[in-house]
Subunit: 213 residues, 2 copies
Amino acid sequence: MNSSGNSTQLKPTARRIVEQAARLFADQGYDLISMRDIAKACDIKAPSLYHHFSDKQSLYQAVLQAVFAQQNAEIAEVFVTQMAAEEKLHQVILLSARKISSDHVFRQLLWRELLQNDPERMQFLAEEVMAQSCLQLQEILQQIQPNSLQTDSHFAITSVMGLLLFHFQLGAMRQYLPGAQALHQDVDYLAEQIFHMIKSGVVYAPPQRINDK
Amino acid sequence: MNSSGNSTQLKPTARRIVEQAARLFADQGYDLISMRDIAKACDIKAPSLYHHFSDKQSLYQAVLQAVFAQQNAEIAEVFVTQMAAEEKLHQVILLSARKISSDHVFRQLLWRELLQNDPERMQFLAEEVMAQSCLQLQEILQQIQPNSLQTDSHFAITSVMGLLLFHFQLGAMRQYLPGAQALHQDVDYLAEQIFHMIKSGVVYAPPQRINDK
DNA sequence: GTCTATACCGAGATAGAC
DNA sequence: GTCTATCTCGGTATAGAC
């Protein structure tokens, strides 16, 4: 359990509220969680919450802000290392996989936001949460592929996101799908597979050129 | 707008209710849609719904059943053609992409179910909805890859699912991510890219052997 | 900053007439 | 098979004491 909103510049009680609310919202969703539920988790009564947040929506916004800012900070760390591009991609995927698989709160909230597909929130998510990682990922990918070909880096980036998110969201369904083995519970193994699929997709046989810039 | 529950063996009014409910549930989710909302969409009053379904949960179950059965039937058609394995994979991905991108109701309900991650429902989804397509996909993939290597077919299958689902769920966020172009709104183009990524992932350099059977 | 008490609303569901 | 009327519950949010 991580990234449950250690956002700074919030007073300690507000911080605790956001932390608890994040866990509950992630788990059961906005509608199923009542202000009473959140209050109970914080050992206070519901009306006290309104001293810290004007209403339920504001609290939810604060939760998203906190969780995604936290995630953003942690993911950024992945990119600082100095290695060959391919090994860098490998590490980025491995560490992102560990992060996303272990951080249930972040993953669920992200999945929920993608469900809504609200334009404003998508812009916020993309620009404030994803953009940094995506740009650095783009750079790595362009270093890996042969100079002569230009594969679709936007497609590659979103595929990395998609594979990471989907494989770790699959959870309880995985065991019922064909060919499932104990192996597939192993985060590092899945990360390895994702790395190879992205790498081969980028390196081999791009279907067509694209004016990437 | 498709697959909105043309389930047979339901009386016509019940069928209409399921159809409308599917659209509403997919769009706004179980909790946000009231029985009154559904009734209004059917031009009846809320209590009349209880003549056809014992409660809200039962109606939701009927919706899932109808939408997923429909989807299952449509996807199954994709596999009947006779072609070389690689071309077959190509077609399967292309047609699945068109289906999943156009069927907003199915995609949203599936995404919502994956959010809950309830073991029983995951088993239902996997076995009743996914299993057929997955097994046939598995067969195709095994025909494509060189006999000498055994790649992880479970990983490949779930990656196909993940890429298809994610890329078409991305919707409004896509335009805010690096490198987005008008191209990426084109279903067939994305399908092409997914096909190539899966193909190269399966054909080239499997990271390690696996006892697949 | 937290509480009790409460207003207000809309939800799911049922009874019983037609 | 559909309706009107109604019950009951739990939700968000506010007022005002401490």
